[in-house]
C-alpha cells in the first residue's frame, strides 16, 4: 500500500455546513472519498492510500488541479483507492465537494 499526503493551498473555502460526506466505494477502478472539516479555510489536506505503487506524480497533478478548481478550503479528505483512473478521481473529488454543500 502506498500512502500519500498532499497539503494544498486553496483560494475558495468549502460551502455548506455538513460535517461529513462520503462518496464512492472501494472497488476495481473506483475509490471512496471521505470529506471532513477542520482545516484552515485556505488549506485542504488529502490523505491517499492506494495499492497501485509509483503513481505519486499523477496523484499530485490531480489533487493540485482539484485544489485550484474547486471550493475545497477547510476540508480534510481521505481517499481509499481501488485503482481508479485520474478522471474518476477528479469526478469523485468534485462530487464530494458538491455533497458537502448540500444540506444533510
Amino acid at each position: 500500500m502506498e500512502n500519500l499526503r498532499y497539503e494544498l493551498s486553496t483560494t475558495k473555502p468549502a460551502g455548506g455546513t455538513r460535517a461529513v460526506g462520503l462518496v464512492g466505494v472501494v472497488a476495481s477502478g473506483n475509490l471512496e472519498v471521505l470529506l471532513e472539516r477542520g482545516e484552515a479555510p485556505d488549506r485542504c489536506v488529502i490523505d491517499i492510500a492506494t495499492p497501485a505503487h509509483g503513481f505519486a506524480a499523477l496523484w499530485q497533478a490531480v489533487t493540485a488541479d482539484f485544489a485550484v478548481r474547486m471550493a475545497a478550503g477547510g476540508l480534510r479528505i481521505t481517499i481509499n483507492d481501488g485503482g481508479a483512473r485520474p478522471d474518476t478521481v477528479a469526478l469523485r473529488l468534485a462530487q464530494g465537494v458538491h455533497l458537502m454543500e448540500k444540506p444533510e
Binding site: M1, V26, L34, A49, P51, N80
Partner: protein, 303 residues
C-alpha cells in the same frame, strides 16, 4: 407492490447507501459507526489490499413507513460484500441491540460469504451473527432479509438469510450456500458450468427460490418494490418456537424427497406442475406471479 413502476430505479445497480436512502423514510436514517469512525479491517493491509472505511457494511436506525427499524446494508462492490471481522461485528452488534430494544431488523444482503483473507475471524463472525439473529428472534424480533444485490447472497451470508423471519427477493437476487464457481471447482464443470449464467439463475435465482418456497416474497428489481416488500415482510409472523421449527423441518424433508434428484430448475418447476417450465425465465413479474402463486411449493407459515 409488484407492478413495474413508470419510474423504475434498479435495486441491483444501486450502492448499499443508495438502497438505504430509497428504502427508509426520507431523512430518518442515523448511521452507527459511520465511515468517519474509521472502524475498518485490521487485516487487509497485511495483504496489500485497500480497506473501506465502513468495512463494506452500513448499520443504523431509521423508519420504514413510520415504523422504527434497525437496518444493515452490505456493499457488494467492496470485496464482493464479503464478511470479515469488523463487518461481522457491526452486524452482530446491531442484532444484539435489536434484541434489547425489541426492534425489528432489515438486512440488505449483498455478499459472497466469508472474506477469505480473514477466514477464521469471518467464520466466527458468521456464527456470532446467526446466534444473535436467533436470540433476537426468540424475543419476538423480526429479522427481514432483502435479496437483490450484485454479489447475490452466498456462503455464510445464505446461512444468515436462512435464519431470517422473512425473505424478499428479485429475479436478479441469487441465494445459495455454494456459489457457481465453488461448485464447479469442487465437482467439475460437468456438474455445474459457472459460466452458464442462465443455469446459475435457473438454480439459484430469485424465481427459482420463490417457486421452491425458499423465500417469501418476489418483487421487481426496483427500489420502491423492495420498500413495499420490506413493509409487507415486517407484517409477517415473528413466532419462532418448537412448532415452527418442527413444521419447517418437515417441509424441508418433503422438499428433499420431492426434488432431491432434480438436475435443473426446469425439472423442479415441471414437478411443481408449471406447464411450460422452459419459459419461466422469460416471464415478466406479473405473469410469473400468476403462475407462481398457484404452483409454488407452499412456504407455509413455517419460517
Amino acid at each position: 407492490m409488484t407492478s413495474p413502476s413508470p419510474t423504475r430505479h434498479s435495486w441491483y445497480e444501486e450502492s448499499a447507501r443508495g438502497r438505504l436512502a430509497h428504502l427508509l423514510d426520507p431523512g430518518s436514517f442515523t448511521e452507527f459507526l459511520g465511515p468517519e469512525r474509521r472502524e475498518f479491517s485490521p487485516h487487509l493491509g497485511l495483504f496489500n489490499l485497500p480497506h473501506q472505511l465502513d468495512d463494506g457494511i452500513i448499520v443504523g436506525t431509521g423508519r420504514l413507513d413510520g415504523r422504527p427499524v434497525l437496518v444493515a446494508a452490505q456493499e457488494g462492490r467492496f470485496m464482493g460484500g464479503a464478511i470479515g471481522e469488523v463487518h461481522g461485528a457491526k452486524l452482530t452488534g446491531l442484532l444484539r441491540a435489536a434484541r434489547q430494544m425489541k426492534r425489528d431488523v432489515v438486512i440488505l444482503f449483498d455478499t459472497g460469504g466469508v472474506r477469505l483473507q480473514e477466514a477464521n475471524a469471518g467464520e466466527l463472525a458468521i456464527s456470532e451473527i446467526i446466534r444473535a439473529t436467533l436470540d433476537a428472534r426468540a424475543e419476538g424480533v423480526r429479522v427481514v432479509g432483502l435479496l437483490g444485490g450484485r454479489a447475490g447472497c452466498y456462503g455464510g451470508g445464505s446461512l444468515i438469510a436462512g435464519c431470517c423471519s422473512a425473505l424478499v427477493i428479485s429475479e436478479q437476487g441469487r441465494l445459495s450456500v455454494s456459489g457457481p464457481e465453488v461448485i464447479e471447482t469442487n465437482k467439475g464443470v460437468e456438474e455445474f458450468d459457472s459460466r452458464d449464467r442462465a443455469l446459475v439463475w435457473r438454480t439459484m435465482g430469485g424465481k427459482h427460490r420463490y417457486l421452491i418456497g425458499g423465500v417469501d416474497l418476489f418483487v421487481d428489481d426496483d427500489v420502491a418494490a423492495f420498500r413495499a416488500g420490506a413493509v409487507a415482510a415486517l407484517e409477517r409472523p415473528a413466532t419462532l418456537d418448537q412448532a415452527v421449527l418442527t413444521a419447517e423441518q418437515a417441509r424441508l424433508e418433503r422438499r428433499l424427497a420431492r426434488f432431491g434428484d432434480a438436475a435443473d430448475g426446469t425439472e423442479v418447476w415441471a414437478r411443481l406442475g408449471v406447464a411450460h417450465p422452459a419459459g419461466v425465465p422469460d416471464l415478466d413479474t406479473s405473469a410469473f406471479l400468476t403462475i407462481a402463486t398457484r404452483k409454488r411449493e407452499g412456504a407455509d407459515a413455517a419460517r
